[in-house]
């Protein structure tokens, strides 16, 4: 890992995690259907590699944020990195993960490249950025109050568990997963929600930096 590109490698980790998880899903669906054709694979990719892809990459990114603040980031400071470098790398990782996952989702969505899909993509992108920023803020606070770190790990594990259980149940029942996100009402006011998440993210990043720039490091 090169010093100046650490955010790039961590973002790549998140996207590889997403690809691995969705790849396994693809294999499971193929095995379940007992047949394989490029057409059906394409349909599955269109269905699951679009919005679920960005959601998965975002959640994995949130998990990675917690893990990094819990493990390597304090070590980086102890090896002479400034807090500004560490914090900037983390923001770069968050944005790179969601931006790349968003582009992948856009190109893998097949027929769904409509205005609504773009709105959904933006909505999810900002929501996930907000989620990652909450995790970041909790993790930084967790450097001082260890209990908070456990709370954020528990929340993210809960979200991942819920998504996986939801998908597994659907898969067992129907042999397919119908990712019906109940957000149509929200999408009618997408601009408002986008502004709320964006503002929330900016505030969280601001407070995270306030806490982080004077945080105590223990390794």
């Amino acid at each position: 890992m090169r010093k100046k590109k650490s955010w790039f490698y961590h973002a790549a980790d998140n996207l590889c995690g997403m690809a691995l998880f969705l790849g396994i899903l693809l294999v499971l669906i193929a095995v379940r259907r007992e047949e394989f054709s490029w057409e059906s694979a394409k349909t599955v990719i269109h269905n699951y590699f679009s919005l679920p892809g960005i959601v998965l990459a975002g959640v994995l990114g949130a998990f990675n944020v917690i893990l990094l603040y819990e493990s390597t980031e304090p070590l980086k400071i102890s090896f002479g990195c400034t807090r500004k470098q560490v914090f900037r790398d983390m923001q770069a990782m968050k944005i790179a993960t969601l931006f790349t996952a968003g582009i992948l989702s856009f190109f893998l969505s097949g027929q769904e490249r409509s205005r609504i899909f773009l709105k959904e993509l933006l909505f999810w992108g900002l929501l996930l950025l907000f989620l990652q920023s909450i995790c970041e803020c909790m993790s930084i606070l967790g450097m001082r109050y260890k209990g908070l770190m456990l709370v954020s790990i528990l929340c993210i594990s809960g979200i991942i568990g819920f998504v996986v259980a939801f998908m597994a149940m659907d898969f067992i029942k129907n042999g397919e997963i119908h990712m019906e996100w109940p957000i149509s009402g929200v999408l009618e006011n997408w601009l408002l929600w986008a502004a709320v998440f964006l503002l929330g993210t900016i505030l969280l990043v601001f407070f995270s930096w306030k806490f982080f720039r004077k945080a105590e490091v223990h390794i």
Partner: protein, 291 residues
């Protein structure tokens, strides 16, 4: 090149851990930082390396503030004691991963030296840090400190948990490195006598204050333990700088610190003894617990 510490204070809530530290660390010296448990040694070293913020005061490297200064920090490395409990930051890492991180972020990292020292100390690179014994963790701390090649290297209890052979190896390696590179080392330790010979200067930290910073040789040469009959001892030490006078029946003893040019000559009923660093430390910092 020098590190300057100006009126550094550190508070944890209402507790004042460091109480206005003024200190200058010059290049090309080995300093011994000695203090009792809780004296503030680790806190001071972590502030000197910008790992933790000071509540008040400044740390300067050649006149430039080191806080959030990447260039200044590239000259400083603090090898602090690695916590091996499961909730520590390094707990999930293997030795080789820890060394890889050090290689990535320490700008003057000497890979060959790290490799050589890892083999010398028989460190298993595939072992997780949590699985290492206390001595092995100290060895890893020493490997990173020496291979960091930082101009100012601070070591916090580097020999804790090490057996006598490993401790001797560490002192030898440290002196070799010092002779070759003229780096500055600040070593905090409780094993005073063993390390006394390698300290060019000693810093006694007591209850958050610098009690003494002096050349080790000068300190030892100017410290004398006087004992004997009370009247004779009193006559001899009159007007001198004395510490911890003790009266036992008709005998008296005291540690005398001689000023420049001052001399003591033993008379009838008085014994003069040289003292070692540990004794001076106990006398100066022992307080009421001193035996």
């Amino acid at each position: 090149m020098k590190i300057e510490c100006r009126d550094v204070r550190k508070n944890y809530k209402k507790k004042e851990v460091l109480k206005g530290i003024d200190l200058v660390l010059e290049k090309g010296k080995i300093y011994g930082l000695i203090g009792r448990n809780g004296a503030g040694k680790t806190t001071l070293l972590s502030i000197l390396s910008a790992q933790n913020p000071a509540s008040f005061g400044n740390i300067l490297l050649d006149g430039r503030e080191i806080w959030e200064n990447a260039e200044a920090l590239s000259h400083i490395y603090f090898a602090r004691e690695i916590i091996t409990s499961s909730n520590s930051n390094a707990s999930g890492l293997k030795v080789k991963e820890y060394l890889k991180l050090a290689e990535t972020y320490l700008p003057r990292w000497d890979k060959d030296m790290a490799q050589r020292l890892t083999e010398l100390f028989h460190l298993d690179r595939k072992q997780r840090i949590t699985k290492l014994s206390k001595g092995m963790v100290s060895m890893l701390q020493i490997v990173v400190a020496l291979a960091s090649k930082a101009d100012f290297t601070f070591l916090d209890e580097p020999v804790s948990g090490l057996d006598v052979v490993a401790r001797e190896a560490f002192y030898r390696l440290l002196l070799e490195e010092f002779t070759e590179t003229e780096r500055t080392f600040v070593i905090s330790t409780h094993i005073i006598e063993e390390a006394a010979d390698i300290f060019e200067e000693v810093i006694f930290l007591h209850e958050g204050k610098i009690l003494l910073k002096e050349n080790t040789q000068d300190l030892l040469e100017h410290s004398v333990y006087v004992s004997g009959k009370t009247e004779a001892v009193d006559r001899l030490i009159q007007g001198k700088q004395i510490y911890c006078p003790e009266v036992l029946g008709r005998s008296k003893s005291a540690l005398v610190r001689l000023r420049e040019g001052e001399r003591l000559s033993g008379g009838e009923g008085v014994t003069l003894q040289g003292v070692n660093l540990q004794k001076i430390f106990v006398v100066l910092c022992g307080g009421e617990e001193r035996v």
